[in-house]
Symmetry: C2
Subunit: 327 residues, 2 copies
């Protein structure tokens, strides 16, 4: 099969790529070709052979989406997005990438469908940012989408488009509403949620981290490893089992910042915890207060999606996958 990853140079894109290259197949179907697309050239992972090709492409540029699906990939992962902080700071860029880019992709697939019956599985990542306060806890899956950021608005619109294009049989779409991914490896990005990872990631390697919110803040988390598992599960689900409501709330771990810090203490000791510096930030606090603390993911759990059960486990995943297995 031919797999296309859009947003392959991002954190989840790189992890998904490494996993696909290591597995060599998706649910038993051999990967003959793997196309990595992003605005910047993605780095093929070590061990990748001739089956991997790298393409620089901006979905929102006219003609680019058509070019990307010209070879009719059987499975498309659409992970490309401008993150929440950036979409809030640059209104036009957020709409161009997150809305116009997604719609261009859907329309290119539709044109393929109309030309030759093309009908790929398309997995799109959505976000808990589709929800906006005041929120029940946990948020039932039939709760309305009243995003309080432009990013959340763009993701909510993408969910609607995915459902309609799937209903019209132009594409076989599955959306997954991701928890905040924690612990994000590498450098902080522009997401306002970055501190949830920083306060663990930096202390684990002896560096200071800044905590801009009180320890009582509760949020919804899953590890990068779980995110890759979610994507693979979404790639192979039977669409009939999903029904017309094509986007699923992913399972996660509901935890307070205090619980994160307790887990850090258990795994890495008090010395690590002392590296967290409190620096309250009113603007981040205002945003975070409007975010989801817990989701009802019953539907996804029934379909075989699973996440971590404790923050100790999330930290151990990070140590195994990013720090060579030990501190």
């Amino acid at each position: 099969m031919h797999v296309l990853i859009l947003g392959a140079a991002g954190m989840i894109g790189r992890k998904l790529t490494a996993r696909l290259v290591a597995d060599g197949n998706v649910d038993g179907r051999r990967i003959e070709r793997l196309t990595l697309a992003d605005v910047a050239l993605a780095e093929p992972p070590p061990g990748a052979d001739g089956q991997v090709e790298v393409v620089a492409a901006d979905l929102a540029t006219p003609g680019e989406a058509e070019r990307l699906i010209e070879a009719r990939p059987d499975l498309i992962f659409h992970l490309a997005a401008v993150v929440s902080g950036e979409a809030e700071a640059d209104f036009e860029k957020g709409y161009r990438v997150n809305l116009d880019g997604t719609r261009a992709l859907l329309d290119a697939v539709r044109a393929g469908h109309e030309a030759d019956g093309y009908h790929p599985r398309l997995v799109v990542t959505s976000s808990i940012a589709v929800y906006g306060a005041p929120l029940p806890e946990p948020i039932p899956e039939d709760f309305h989408h009243t995003p309080l950021t432009s990013y959340g608005t763009q993701k909510a619109i993408a969910e609607l488009l995915l459902a309609d294009y799937t209903r019209r049989r132009f594409v076989d779409g599955i959306g997954i509403r991701l928890p905040t991914i924690c612990i994000r490896p590498g450098r902080p990005n522009k997401a306002a949620s970055g501190f949830f990872s920083s306060i663990l990631r930096e202390p684990l390697v002896g560096q200071e981290a800044i905590l801009p919110v009180p320890e009582t803040v509760r949020h919804w988390h899953a590890s990068p490893r779980s995110a890759v598992e979610f994507l693979l599960r979404a790639a192979t689900l039977d669409g009939e089992d999903v029904g017309p409501r094509r986007t699923l709330s992913m399972p996660g771990l509901s935890a307070t910042v205090g619980e994160q810090i307790d887990a850090l203490r258990r795994v890495a000791g008090e010395r690590a915890v002392r590296l967290i510096r409190r620096e309250p930030d009113e603007s981040i606090m205002r945003m975070v207060q409007t975010w989801a603390a817990a989701l009802d993911a019953t539907r996804a759990l029934r379909l075989g999606f699973a996440a971590e059960g404790s923050f100790d486990e999330i930290i151990r995943v990070h140590i195994e996958d990013e720090l060579g297995g030990s501190l």
Copy 2:
């Protein structure tokens, strides 16, 4: 003040125009100028004087939205839409008019805001088609939007855009989620819901009408007169009272087709009822089964919106407003 009506040639647009011309003001503010825009030239109502101007414009054509808001109307009613049946039959036209047109309008207002602080009240009509089966009865206002038509998808997206552009303070938007408008005067349009009006409108003037669904079908209705009242209320609401969830479910009357027919019998007698010919249509039945039967409109009721309490009243409104007051 300067009022702009987009979609002024449509049924509700014409009724709103007539009302504004008759009133000469909106909530005490004198209407100095009234611009009627539509893809076809709207007909100014009898009694309109020099303050009324008529413009042919297609919002989705580049530059048209900017041209329409060049004179900085204080109040904009955006009623222009491709209806449900047509948006389903012509996928591209539906998205072009209902999504791209609305977004072009919002972006034109945003450009005005950025140029000179322009910040008009924008009233946008949405629809119960944002909801898709299976549905609770009544549908709570915090129920998610899972439209099962492209029209409903486009309206749900417009609601999201309106909320985000309002949150960013580019515009002062209010959306109103209209019930099915009954009794629509004039000729049937391409809406699949047309029979709800036909089965009353035609028999009231001695003509035959076709009923494609069983009498047990329950739906959510309000008269054209109520629709105009909703628009005027939305035009003058204090945005602070509405909060960030900018679209309101409008009140309506939940009634079965059987109850509609009973009301017809009470108002116009058995002879009128006998003009309804049963002609079951599977495709209309399938669509109607996915529609909302009743909405919880508590929030709108609190804000002063009101609809009819019985179908007898809806029929009497039609007789008064369309048939000169008597049968």
